[in-house]
Amino acid sequence: MGRGRTAVALAGMGVLALAGSLLLAAGDQGPQAARSALRPPAPGDPLTGDEIARAGEIASATLRTRMSTGRVELLYVERDDDKAAAHLRRADAYIYDYGTDRLIVRTVDLGRGEVVAESAGRGVRPPPSRTEEARAAELLLADPGHGKRIRAAYAEAAGRPLRSASDLGLRALVYTPRRHGAAAAACRTHRCVRLFARLPDGTWLDTTRIAVDLSAKKIIALEW
């Protein structure tokens, strides 16, 4: 899978962390973010919203250009749970490089303000981020056949036309490749997701035989 691990200690990366806060939309902090603490977080507390934002910025510092073009994307930040470093405040930033179809995980030491470890590899399938979920829905709506079907189903359920993908109750799961036809075989290396879409009347669109290839920006009909 072309995996490798390199320990990096890039002094001064923390300084760069002040810039680029746009990289993290508000929703990226998610419900796991600890509430803004009046006290400093204890070692075992979840990351605070501020720590999540800082970790994302530190981890992204060397990737700004590729992030601005959408080639590289910060998926989410998770508290690093390595029990050998339980006394430290550390965060794992999950970054996907669509240019090379590689997942990059950068471990940020929040106390030192720097990336202390990095691993990267192809064929690794982390859960889709909220941003990827929305993009998958937009691709599905942009497909002539699926778009027409979904708009009609939405109008019937809601009594009004669909304005955007955000009107749908979305949930993406990572697509796990099996023998689902030639197009689906690309998902062994591409970033592919399944999509659930809930309509305002509580019913669900039938998306069972659909995967969205985010790397190729294609809709895949799963064959079985």
């Binding site: 691990r5 419900p31 796991q32 075992g44 507390d45 590689r102 949930r171 799961l173 069972t208």
Partner: protein, 436 residues
Amino acid sequence: MVTVRLPLTLLLLALAAGLAGVPAAGGATAGRETREAREAREAREVPSGTGTAPAGTVPARAVPPRTAPASRTAPARPACGAPYLVDRRLPNGARWRLCWEMRTIEGLTLTDVAYTPAGGRETSVLRSTALAQIHVPYDSGEPRFHDIGTLGEIAVPLQSADCPGGQRRGQYVCVTTRPRGHAYLKSRFEEPALSAQGHDLAVYSAFQVGWYTYLVEWAFSDDGAITPRVGATGSLSGFTAETGHGWPTGTGGSHVEQSHSHNIFWRLDFDVDGRENDVVEQYDFTGSGTAARTLVRTRFTKETRAVNGRTRWWRVVDTESRNADGHPVSWEINNSASAQYRGPRDEAFTRADLYVSQYRACERLATNNPSPDCAPSVDRYAGSERLTDPVLWVNVSYHHVARDEDADPMPVHWQGFRITPRDVTAENPHLRSRAR
């Protein structure tokens, strides 16, 4: 693996003579185990600076009579503060302390779980536990879902009524105490029966994954038992099927709802009385169709994939920590209620019911593990590495053949397993509390 077979007579002799630390530790095997324990200790030595917590940060507790002797290290204090710390004393005096966290990927995750029997000393049980996957294959062969996405993003806000008698921690976590029925009942001669009611501390959240709402819960009992379980509710998928793959629901025979399995994996990083000296053993009982049954113990010295048996169970034992009777402290895992789903060749992770792997921080999910440094699935974690810090992965399957009663909103169907203290205290923990 080391397999030890003991004739029942030897076992009884050993027990009668009071020689056996654990039943299978007596007789001719004792010398061998001592050597193993020594080797394990040598293998476990780690460089300084890699421990979980600074030593000596928690004062040792007073040890009352009939409880375990003081351990080599004080139990680690849960490393979190409010509102993430759960510290609950149940009516019989037992106490549980733990931290919760709503992780982005795994959702509700509990860490630093420690148990204090009534009147006893605190002992650590789990460093961490969380769901590791919910695999949902449908009976016609497709579709097949891996339901762990970013669970932390799809937690369902709990209303006050969803957390009866308890405290909501933020919007998504309920911490509550509830009765669990009789702890024991014993009639006496010319006196009223002795009895006590038991209680559980329950910590749970709910997650919306597609049609399903999953209730993810850990119950911590006042006798030291832990019951991890998941309840599936919400809605059925509505997938239709040939009658051979489903059951007619709704009016007449117009709709055949497709049957499916929920194969749920839990990751459990046991640190019994500290990180060191934890060993996993498997217990079997031979003698089907015969009058006598014989205990067979298998000690896992290397990573292992194990399957269920009707009377098979496992335990994580701390070889150095003993209760007041001199027996090693352990926690038993029983998964015999699983439907034991076995999938096709490309789903090798379904081929065992319990995996034991050497601790690696990047092994988090049972399938689609999101780490480039680690293997992608649990069947690959359990290779041949020597075990010094075992992590257990429990796979519990439930096969759902829908009924008319499963109409929306679908009633909850539960699946889970049991973790029971084995020789953590030297006597009934409830009687200990009565004597206080």
